[in-house]
């Protein structure tokens, strides 16, 4: 197992390099690439500033040299400074990442805790009215775009009912609140984005769980369990659930990069100061170093997620564990 993991880690390095290289190239060649930002797109940049920036980021060198230098700084966790405000990129990320992890982590937790029972119920009551209602709910959840749900919730809970703040992470006056008050304040700000992400995530995962469960229930070993005379709840909750949870472990690992990608839309809608919104803003402003940093983190999370998925899969399934 240990050799397997280290092999996988080593194999991840070239993949990571490949992804970042491609991104670097695309960014550099795309209209509105880093040099364009310096001139056409931003009239406010004076020639002297531009000169300085070009030097700093080696923008006058050939592209592969630029890339190598970028990688050289990357291994020291130096993502450079933002084009926009000249702040170190790493500082921005350090500020945003925990907030994204908090929101996504809570949402993932909520989704799993709801999706598993919903999926099981749907499968066990296959074709009953419970299953039908859940199916409708799932399809609605699937078909409505996240940003639309987000806007709807903002209108209902934020404007009509006025229960919850619609944007941001904390109130302006949060610093003057008590410790408990601040916590409450953050919780209120989290409520809407959490609700929206959980709702859309729930649709997919509960469906997945239902279908997985339906598959397992048809297996011969479920029939054996019933033939033994086990009570039905044991057949479902031990024999069937244990098997249908295994693929879920993979999903959990693979959804790690969603931290960023899903965040791009709803963090922007909710003006939530997370990594996704940082990425969105960076793209809009052609903030090259920030874009490269978020893409690299995204690629890293994808690979890490894959590895975690495989390892936990092997751990959960004895047929693979014993290989």
């Amino acid at each position: 197992m240990l050799t397997y993991v280290s092999k996988r880690l080593l194999a991840a390095i070239p993949i990571l390099l490949g992804i970042s290289f491609l991104t670097y190239m695309v960014m550099a060649l795309a209209p509105g690439g880093p040099t364009a930002f310096m001139s056409d797109l931003n009239p406010k940049v004076s020639p002297e500033v531009r000169e300085k920036m070009v030097k700093l980021y080696n923008l006058d060198k050939p592209i592969h040299v630029q890339y190598v230098k970028w990688v050289g700084r990357l291994v020291r966790f130096d993502f450079g400074n933002s084009f926009k405000d000249n702040q170190p990129v790493i500082k921005k990320i350090r500020e945003r990442l925990p907030k994204t992890v908090l929101l996504s982590g809570l949402s993932l937790l909520l989704v799993f805790f709801l999706a598993i029972p919903i999926g099981v119920l749907s499968a066990v009551k296959h074709n009953s009215w419970v299953d039908r209602i859940l199916t409708v709910f799932v399809f609605v959840g699937f078909s409505i775009p996240t940003y639309w749900v987000a806007l709807l919730f903002m209108i209902v809970f934020g404007i009509y009912l006025g229960w919850l703040p619609m944007t941001g992470f904390r109130s302006i006056l949060a610093d003057e609140m008590t410790w408990g008050g601040q916590l409450m304040d953050v919780a209120k700000h989290l409520a809407l984005p959490l609700l929206v992400t959980a709702l859309t995530g729930l649709a997919g995962l509960s469906r997945y769980m239902r279908n997985g469960m339906l598959d397992v229930i048809r297996q011969d070993y479920i029939r054996t369990a019933r033939a033994k005379g086990l009570p039905e709840h044991r057949v479902i909750l031990i024999h069937a659930l244990k098997n249908s949870l295994i693929p879920l472990v993979t999903i959990l690992g693979l959804s790690l990069p969603d931290l960023i990608s899903a965040g791009v839309i709803f963090e922007t809608v909710f003006s939530y100061p997370g990594l996704g919104r940082l990425a969105y803003e960076a793209v809009m402003a052609r903030d090259f170093p920030v874009i490269m940093a978020t893409v690299t983190i995204g690629a890293f999370l994808t690979l890490a997620g894959n590895l975690i998925a495989d390892i936990s899969y092997a751990y959960a399934d004895p047929r693979i564990r014993h290989r």
Partner: protein, 316 residues
């Protein structure tokens, strides 16, 4: 004495889209205490469906319906509540399935799956009981097998474990649905001997499904021949094999590859059994029958009894 199991006019239909198609049709079958009844017939003739009925393991999701009666001793199983039926499963009627490779839960150890059955009987797990059970099915190395997951032991070992599991409660009736089909030939024989031995030792009755006439001859007291959901012939195994009456039974026995005789002339039965969706009118066997006459196309034959032998054919 009342038979242990008595199936009366049982019909089982499966729903295919909006039609109900019969898999078992108007079946009567009694099984006495301690006797072995073999059920033979081509694939799809309804053997497994018939076998699952006494246990109440047919699909419960509305895609399957039953009519008729099934009595265990004097209790009509179809009148029992689900919980009462569950309490008969494993305890009074146990089952061994065809495919030992898929019949054990892959993520639970053998010990766990065996203890589950033991808990139902003794109220708590018991290592010694598990060891004794494995010894009873001639599994040496029982400690290792208990610790294993199903994929870590062979098919034959898995089937022995499944048999051990079925015997926890000393059931009165064991239903074995092609328990050797998925195994190597040499192991088939061992499993067969084991089942015979245990049956005698524990005084169980057994319903044994197979399409191997050699096994039928070896293991059963009586045999039932199924065709398209019907039992077309039923009688003492020795009698039926020596003098088959129904044209289908005759054809089935003729189609057996004989080791004596020239290799080129192995008779094979013509045609296919009818699809449940395209049952012929009259006798379901008449399109393939070599002794068919006018009446066969119009009337479904009734079962006729004579000397404990039952044949469902207009010829008798």
């Amino acid at each position: 004495m009342a038979p242990l199991l008595s199936i009366k006019d049982l019909t089982v239909d499966y729903r295919h889209e909006d039609r109900w198609l019969p898999a078992v049709k108007n079946v009567f079958l009694d099984v006495s205490e301690g006797e072995t009844v073999a059920i033979v017939g081509e694939s799809g003739c309804g053997k497994s469906t018939l076998a699952l009925t006494p246990l109440g393991l047919l699909p419960q999701d509305g895609t399957c319906r039953t009519t008729g009666q099934v009595f265990l001793n004097d209790k009509n199983l179809f009148n029992l509540k689900e919980e009462e039926r569950r309490l008969l499963r494993g305890r009074r009627i146990a089952m061994v399935f065809q495919d030992p490779f898929s019949s054990l839960n892959p993520v639970l150890t053998i010990n766990y799956q065996l203890q589950e059955a033991i808990i139902l009987k003794e109220g708590k797990p018991n290592h010694q009981t598990a060891m004794d059970l494995l010894k009873q099915v001639h599994l040496s190395d029982a400690e290792r097998i208990l610790e294993s997951y199903p994929h870590q032991i062979s098919g034959g070992q898995r089937q022995r474990v499944l048999i051990a599991m079925a015997l926890v409660h000393h059931p009165a009736l064991l239903i074995a649905d092609e328990p050797t089909t998925a195994l190597d030939v040499t192991i088939q024989d061992e499993i067969l001997q084991l089942l015979k031995e245990l049956k005698t030792k524990l005084g169980m009755a057994m319903i044994f499904i197979t399409h191997n006439m050699g096994i039928v001859k070896n293991i059963s007291d009586r045999m039932a021949v199924m065709y398209a959901g019907h039992i077309v012939e039923l009688g003492k195994t020795a009698d039926v094999l020596a003098a088959p009456k129904h044209p289908y039974t005759q054809a089935l026995l003729r189609s057996l590859p004989k080791l004596t005789g020239s290799l080129g002339t192995i008779p094979v039965m013509e045609g296919q059994p009818p699809e449940p969706s395209a049952m012929p009118a009259g006798c379901p066997f008449h399109p393939r029958c070599d002794r068919t006459f006018e009446r066969c196309e119009k009337e479904d034959p009734f079962e006729r009894d004579s000397d404990g032998r039952r044949v469902q054919c207009h010829l008798f």
